[in-house]
Symmetry: C2
Subunit: 367 residues, 2 copies
């Protein structure tokens, strides 16, 4: 049986080094982005969204991505000074054209627009095109929480690592979906998952540790046989959760995030990896739903609390210490990291030193 | 590796008997429901929704459910003459109070309301409470298609068969999600999945055939060990797709369909099976999204066609005859069954004879 209720960081994070204070991380990211040409206000927004991911414990989608973003920004593969605009607008819908800017900026505007639309109409659905990697989807879904709203996020990944069910070619991204639901005294429910069984982060961790990956994660492209050697994972395709079901979910999330916003999907998606030299036209969407249009917010929050407690206190399987409701670990980590700082691996700290040297800014360790 | 791109009927349907013309099925269902006290107009709507499921090939969710509905209606467990009303309404949201009527009626009104709201606002999100089993979710998502809209459906099942990840108690339904996306010349994309790996229908089929069920479908409630004897499946809990991921999906779909609409979830849900003697307070939701608010519908349809063809023509794994995009089989079956009739098993036909005798209506085989 499978017990794997944990956030991605638990499986993907390398060994933690001494934690770095949040303000130092924030200032370092903002300085680095400003040195890449972002206006200071934009750099601050992106830094906040990256820190939101680190605070939530999604270590693979926060500051760890900075060394990847910097060369793209310097090369102009991502536009450091975009004119992000609302290209289409209805009473409860909008499409944001990101002008190939940082996905964090584009999706922050998209989420804020969805929240404003939901305030007026009860629900707001905002798509984005010409966006880029925005870090952790749960961060944007969670922006709705403080407004007493439910947030939903979906994306068409800017790289294809999964095949459609029965297929041998990577035609689909591991298209993620995130849902955030406000609670009262309990932590909000925040689910943030890719539609693949495993992530490349988890595979990398097995590689570093010299352990084989389990069957059911990756299959090769010619025979469909399991690949268990993590070094060979890139030769295969990642398997979706639940076979044709996860493949179908990746497909519909991708169509809603991609073609509906005139963004890339399927054959349009080309993985340039580190050498990416052209716009990805990444598509995402975010939905905000105003709870008060359904029932009074305090009543809803009390009901969510009750259900969270019922689930957490329900009978456990032997060997299971506690039942984790999605979002519980996130809240615990946020408290810890706001207090103690963000744990960064030695390997990441070295990469960030290189970034600092390249950009001529003060290294993180010196802050 | 897993190749299971097929609709539920393919695994769940028993051996097919001679097909019955669609008009005979429709008249039989409508007569049976009218004999249970439904007004003729309501009986016609429910009959159409049940036939929609049978036409789509979801044999477990169409006329096959009639023998279950009839005693509930006669006993008043489901209200045959409900006053279904819109209890809350915003510019783009609504909540339907189903007055414990047939779920098919409630969700038809919910879908129509969502479509009307989306016509005005771009998106419409309509929840339902005091509803009941509505058959196949894909049917309600697909109602949006002819309006040039995308449809999404979710439900908090009226019985709990899954545990939360790590849990031993069935606290969650196999809460389904369905998404329908219009295409041009290609069949629309229609995904309709439960969040469990298998369904009770599939387990029943293994039971009838005397075959063990695969590991990974059901675990027992004390040790968490696989149950492979289909006769013992009811002692266990169904496993979600992708472990904690599917458990999380079932949770958030359930919260959006249940508590947000003041409908049942978690401990509120009690499975009375055939002896059900009180209202289920089933909750569902349906979303309609007007494509034209994002881009011109013909442009979107052409893009969806292109992507469907790219996927279908992508490289296949050995042994895979063709790649199936969700919705393709549905369209093929609809054409076939509209022409040839609906194949019904001998066992179901016998059950329907009993229904006819009980209600004093002409049996299906005599029509």
């Amino acid at each position: 049986m499978i017990i794997e209720d944990r956030t991605r960081s638990a499986e993907e994070a390398g060994p933690a080094d001494s934690p770095v204070p949040v303000e130092a991380v924030r200032a370092f990211i903002a300085d680095a982005l400003a040195a890449c040409g972002l206006p200071p206000a934009d750099a601050a927004v992106v830094a906040q969204r990256m820190i939101d991911a680190d605070l939530a414990g999604i270590d693979t989608h926060g500051i760890a991505r900075l060394p990847q973003y910097v060369p793209w920004l310097r090369r102009g593969t991502i536009n450091p000074r975009p004119t992000i605009r609302i290209a289409e607008r209805g009473p409860a819908t909008a499409v944001v054209d990101g002008d190939n800017g940082m996905g964090h900026l584009v999706m922050t505007l998209a989420a804020e627009t969805a929240i404003a639309l939901a305030r007026e109409a009860g629900v707001g659905w905002v798509g984005a095109r010409r966006s880029n990697h925005a870090g952790a989807g749960g961060v944007y879904a969670a922006l709705a929480l403080e407004h007493g709203m439910i947030g939903i996020y979906g994306a068409a990944s800017s790289a294809n690592h999964m095949a459609v069910s029965g297929g041998a070619e990577p035609m689909l991204g591991t298209n993620p979906i995130a849902v955030a639901i406000p609670a009262g005294e309990e932590p909000p429910v925040v689910l943030d998952i890719a539609t693949s069984v495993s992530s490349f982060g988890a595979i990398r961790k097995h590689m570093l540790e010299g352990r084989p990956i389990p069957e059911g994660w990756v299959i090769d492209r010619t025979e469909g046989k399991p690949i268990t050697d993590p070094e060979r994972a890139a030769e295969g395709t990642l398997l979706p959760i639940g076979g044709y079901k996860g493949s179908g979910l990746a497909l519909v999330i991708g169509l809603l995030a991609g073609p509906l916003n005139r963004a890339a999907f399927g054959r349009d998606v080309q993985d340039f990896g580190g050498d990416r030299d052209r716009e990805t036209n990444t598509g995402q969407f975010v939905i905000a739903l105003d709870v008060a249009r359904f029932l009074p917010l305090p009543v809803f929050k009390a009901e969510i609390d009750r259900h969270i407690r019922d689930l957490r206190n329900s009978q456990r399987l032997p060997g299971v210490e506690r039942i984790r409701v999605p979002g519980g670990e996130r809240s615990r980590r946020m408290r810890e990291r706001l207090r103690d700082g963000v744990p960064l691996t030695a390997a990441l700290l070295r990469q960030l030193d290189d970034v600092a040297a390249q950009l001529g800014i003060a290294p993180l360790r010196a802050r």
